[in-house]
Symmetry: C2
Subunit: 347 residues, 2 copies
């Protein structure tokens, strides 16, 4: 790990103790020295129970997520980057520019303080990348065996860009469905790391910020009907959710969807369908057909969305809203919601 | 428990399983049927990754807290009421009227769904009491032994009332220190419940909403310099934190501070000082001397602050900021920050 040294003397305080959550001197040191050193800014420096922040006129987008990923680090990311990008991406999906983040830590007794410092630095860097300030925080400590190292919550506030609502209720038959890149990397990167899968080339999570790419789309004045990141449950679940809320069906072409070979192989090993595996840097966009090419041109300018494609269309629902995949052989199958978990604790 | 029956058939789904966190059909049912039945409102019904909310002109107050209290229920409250009142009270301490709350759940596999339903109903009732809408949520499930039933995060947004900042940097020598009621009940209620202390009359937590009382103070046009709720670390810690940030000292009169007899007895049993024990419905206010009587008159109109008193004064710091207690015998002692935990997991 490169970066500034931990401001707490690790020889003396190597790990989190229950005292760090007690509200006394140890808590104050953790907040002042460790969180303060990484996150410090003029707003946070109000040092009060609530932070007063200026906001632009107009509506705000709000999103909250807790993160319980195991293991804490994996190729391409860690719980800290996941927590910041995850919430910032959700704000972007709401058609908003991230402004502020809150961060709340549930630490397990025995967590190396060095691990906490590493994640705090990761979070600060990620927050800077998405353009958000961390304005409030909280720390709790639970006894050994009542957590798993570190759980995070991030809640985000964003300024809505543009005047048309962006969401599943705006989706309509005829919309074109764009998918921003290859699928399944995050879930399989975490699973491979957790299970110690020996791969010649490890699978890298796609964990990253979608903010710049989405803002470029929104600010180009395209009529974006809906945006949805393809996290827990993957593309298939996202499409089903949007279909259910919008009362439309969708037809997706398998040949348009990219899955890296090693991701496909890992999915086979675990018996998983990559279309249901979580991504953390991929989204779908629903746009008017006449805007599709321009949208793709914009997205392809950003590395994280360089492989964006037109992958399907929205159809009127004949009966219950249905998501259908047209295979490379011309056959079709319904992509239904799965019952339970495919992959626990991947975010 | 009175109230509507759980909308999920408990005979079929008695407990939380990993599948409830997988993003598939079980997750959707939990969100639609259980959370939707309790929390549903027009904003939440956008059903999107981020919720777009209208906000009034002017600055907002933001606060976040995670809750890991053990046991989940105790006389006078439970994790659900604590989570809503705790964050709403923090917003009030920032001089703001609560508008919106987000709620995030970390559920342990095996948690009875009935327990979750009970807490969700408690949260909805508490949110209505503080005047806030629940606008976003999240659910994660961790394996048995990686949590402790239920951890919560609530993050709140409030509209700042009045034009003067309220916070520790506004405190100045000469300010009068008000304390809103008797001390130590929440911490000792939780400890007594956790340790199975057999008391003739159980200690009831003071867990409750301070919002109405604080808004009345702020809206009366009093010059309120600072408000601080007396949670983790109790009165002594809150006064030390404010002293440190404001660069002032404080002198508090022990005879003005009320501690219920049974709370005092329980503190003796556990070897604790009630001035360091957490409250969840108590706060301190720093006001100009000429406003003190009016402030007390206003506070005494509300049941939760009926016993508010003038308990001390702010003094210029002679050397490092210090909080001093003048005992009933006229002697003084310094109320320092404690090193580590007094009471783990009381919020």
């Amino acid at each position: 790990m490169n970066g500034p040294a931990c401001p707490i003397p690790l020889a003396r305080y190597p790990v989190i103790t229950l005292g760090h959550g007690g509200g006394g001197r140890l808590t104050a040191e953790l907040i002042d020295r460790l969180f303060g050193a990484a996150f410090g800014n003029r707003l946070l420096d109000q040092r009060h129970d609530a932070t007063v922040v200026p906001v632009p006129a107009g509506p705000l987008a709000v999103s909250t997520d807790s993160f319980v990923v195991s293991p804490l680090s994996f190729p391409g990311g860690s719980i800290g980057s996941l927590a910041v990008f995850g919430t910032a991406n959700d704000l972007a999906m709401g058609g908003a520019r991230p402004l502020y983040l809150t961060v709340a830590f549930i630490l397990e007794e025995g967590l190396p303080i060095e691990t906490l410092w590493r994640e705090v630095l990761v979070m600060q860097k990620a927050a800077a990348e998405v353009g958000a300030s961390i304005v409030a925080g909280d720390t709790k400590v639970v006894e050994r065996g009542k957590g798993d190292g570190l759980y995070l919550n991030t809640t985000g506030l964003g300024a809505v860009v543009g005047s048309s609502p962006v969401g599943p209720r705006q989706v309509r038959p005829g919309d074109v469905l764009l998918v921003s890149g290859d699928l399944g990397r995050h879930g399989m990167a975490v699973m491979a790391a957790r299970e110690g899968l020996a791969l010649a080339h490890p699978i890298e999570s796609d964990c990253g910020s979608l903010v710049a790419a989405v803002l470029a789309l929104l600010e180009a004045g395209l009529e974006v009907h809906c945006l949805r990141d393809l996290t827990r449950g993957g593309l298939a679940t996202a499409l089903n959710e949007v279909a259910a809320v919008s009362g439309t069906s969708a037809l997706v072409e398998e040949t348009k969807l990219a899955v890296e070979d090693r991701v496909a192989s890992a999915c086979e090993i675990f018996g998983l369908d990559p279309l249901y595996v979580a991504n953390e840097g991929r989204f779908a966009a629903w746009v008017r057909p006449e805007d599709a090419d321009r949208a793709l041109t914009i997205l392809r300018r950003f590395p994280i969305t360089a492989d964006a494609v037109q992958a399907g269309v929205v159809l009127p629902a004949q009966g219950p809203p249905t998501v259908t995949l047209q295979s490379r052989y011309g056959t079709t199958r319904v992509l239904d919601l799965l019952a339970g978990e495919q992959l626990p604790r991947i975010c």
